[in-house]
Symmetry: D2
Subunit: 253 residues, 4 copies
């Protein structure tokens, strides 16, 4: 029963430390969430309950790890960004990746009932994840812009697509055909002219996703600064956002 | 709003494919499960509900991925072993690791109530994970033996430790002191002479952990072979086990 | 001048140890050797001096590292194979790769004059290299077969191509056109019917490349076993070769 | 002879692309150069011929690769720094590493006679190498400072050590003992008081190593800018150096 005879197998565990002084992005994605959404009667094109559950699960992840600087979520994906100088778990890739991924998944299942009242969770959902490193402030900002540009493009499409189906009585195939080759302006016009919808007035959470930020606030009575996590739906593609939140990447060297 | 301006950030995602023709072990571990066990009143030294929940969550993982050959669990850890020639997700490390880890975590939370009747899950648990590759049949078998030798050593210690406390009325410090420097034979003797316990008669699931295997069985009516997943608690340190299950690693080239 | 202020940069050096218990292949390749061969008047299609210099440089590499089991060279490339259990430099990838690569390059330049009498080395040549791991005996044997099948295909083509030019007075373009779409049998026939050449009688070193092996021989006077490095040009695609040299991969566990 | 049967072994070659937008340092080091220096009668503590040969070999490396920004050499090591946005060989690690390493080694052997007149190269030398990535301008500058601080510390020690032996008639053991526990000021004082040597007047190439830089100069007749590679021995630990050469890392984004 000598454990030591077999312990050599431990030498097959290779070091996977991440390059120091780089932003660490952990992005997780719902697996087969198209089917999952159907199975759980998600409202089309956006289900506010589902987005808020995503945000709430992400909030619990950010709350647990002080070295998380910002998180950004949209649809069934969430990106968590660690500070450049993060030393959590000695920057071991697998450890960082799985801890975030598991904590998020567990929270999603655990808090389901809080958001989906009356809609039973039929089976456990799965999220996959990956880690990407970014060396500069410019790169990490472009990363966030990339994800937010993605939600804009997808949401405008989905909103028009589902409006054509739900209000315009088109079949999915007809709606797809109708939108084929259209640009943003065309879709805005369809919504406005045919359905009297102003896309700009759609909820920000749908159009822009959710940014979770640590913010320093003064406590009312004591005046002492205290960190809180806030969720905002601002436009990260505007430079204004980065001026306002310049402390984010500057401070965290 | 040109998505393409930012899309260059995608080039920072590096390929992480695993070496072909090697056994892939995904091992997951409960994070801070000492505290988690206390917070949820786990029976000491072993909580059958907790072990069975682990097994049930692992069963759902194995069921979902045909390329999983065998899984082995003990305490708050589980190892999942993919076939050598597994091509799932093109053997991308992060994808394999997070999918297994997330599916297990979600199942653990989802099926909690089925095993812990009357014990509310107070907060979402977290599991971390890692991937280790093994090139030969001998290595992968030694890996499983290593994990099972580990459970033996720990369980004999824990069983004696908690018996000294619960039945012998020692404090944890006294029990620790008593066991300091003892070998297996000493612990067996303490249990037998002082508490009339035969360690060998302890439940196999405590002493050996649980092996989940795919097995081919004949259907009663049709006679057609069908694959089922069975859980056994056999001694993998004995060669007999490997003769009996030699098909496992031989067939899977 | 405090060195310690800057020493943190050492933490950016990441571990690159290779998976244990796998065959390590270091393959090096001449960079721009088409031009290098022209600049140094290599005989077409094969230059025996060049091949022998490659072999001699490789011989010095094998001689230096006892953990090298076998080497195989053809054209301007050489593969060096370390034993599975090689622990040289703790299996650090960069160290193994560059040491072999540099030793080979230095030897190639250093011994040039020994083989290229009267042909001055006009400029320093460059070789690049890579490491590939193979988990099983079957894989590593197939690797060597792959390289030798490659030399066969290329050499039959090149021999026919250059015969058409040098003896058949075709231009390179005409020769290329003539060979377009031909299979092995066609090329053998061109050589035989048009130029009275039997390809099978071409030198083995051209047709099969060179295998460098460590071999155990008995010393004449003492009878003590002693290891020598031999160069052979046998057909590794035949199973006979592997029966004869079965000790190679079997012993080296 | 079907090559395709074995071609599957190519799938074992894994991608090793380096993270984009990071400075790539290739550092090479002489292997067993203590012995090599003895075998070739290197002057102690510094051999100008050897340093100039290192510089000349490095010059040929820098000349060949436009994407090399700067190189720094001291003793038997040389660091080559690629631009952040370098795309050479698609940033494949092994390719970059071995090409630089091999080109340097070949040049060292090839140009030996130009510097070591009358001293025959007795055997081919070997250099090993590694790649390290640095994400920011600050990190890469600190890297160069680290290497130069290293040469300062070593050279002051070696100069005093060999002066005690060569001029002070101490044995190596006595010299080592004498220097044990001394700081820089002590060594400067030994040189000055006992041997009338002002360390500051030692040749810059010994004290600071050599920096190879690409510089833009105007051609005399045409006035057109042209790039040349210059070798300087300035103090990189002074901020003045970085102001003067600020174009180096700024321009190369």
């Amino acid at each position: 029963m000598a454990k030591s005879t077999f312990e050599y197998v431990k030498t097959f565990e290779l070091d996977d430390s991440l390059l120091p002084n780089t932003w660490i992005v952990v992005r997780i994605d719902g697996k087969c969430f198209h089917k999952f959404a159907d199975d759980h009667n998600f409202t089309k094109p956006n289900d506010e309950r589902a987005l808020k559950l995503m945000n709430y699960a992400a909030f619990h992840v950010v709350k647990e790890f002080n070295e998380l600087l910002v998180a950004y979520g949209q649809s069934d994906e969430y990106s968590f960004i660690f500070k450049k100088n993060c030393q959590l778990y000695n920057r071991r890739q697998s450890k960082l990746l799985t801890t975030i991924n598991s904590k998020f998944t567990a929270s999603y299942v655990y808090y389901w009932d809080m958001f989906f009242k009356g809609e039973r969770l039929k089976y456990p959902p799965t999220f996959d994840g990956r880690i990407v490193l970014y060396p500069t402030e410019e790169n990490i900002i472009d990363y966030l812009k990339w994800r937010q540009a993605d939600v804009h493009i997808n949401n405008l499409y989905n909103t028009t697509f589902w409006t054509l189906i739900l209000k315009g009585n088109l079949s999915p195939t007809q709606a797809e055909k109708r939108l084929c080759g259209t640009v943003s302006a065309d879709k805005n016009e369809i919504l406005f002219k045919e359905f009297n919808m102003n896309y700009n007035k759609e909820p920000e959470i749908f159009k822009r996703g959710t940014v979770l930020l640590r913010k320093s606030v003064s406590k009312e009575n004591s005046g002492k600064p205290s960190a809180v996590i806030v969720d905002i739906h601002d436009d990260m593609l505007k430079e204004k956002f980065w001026h306002k939140h310049s402390y984010l990447f500057k401070n965290s060297k």
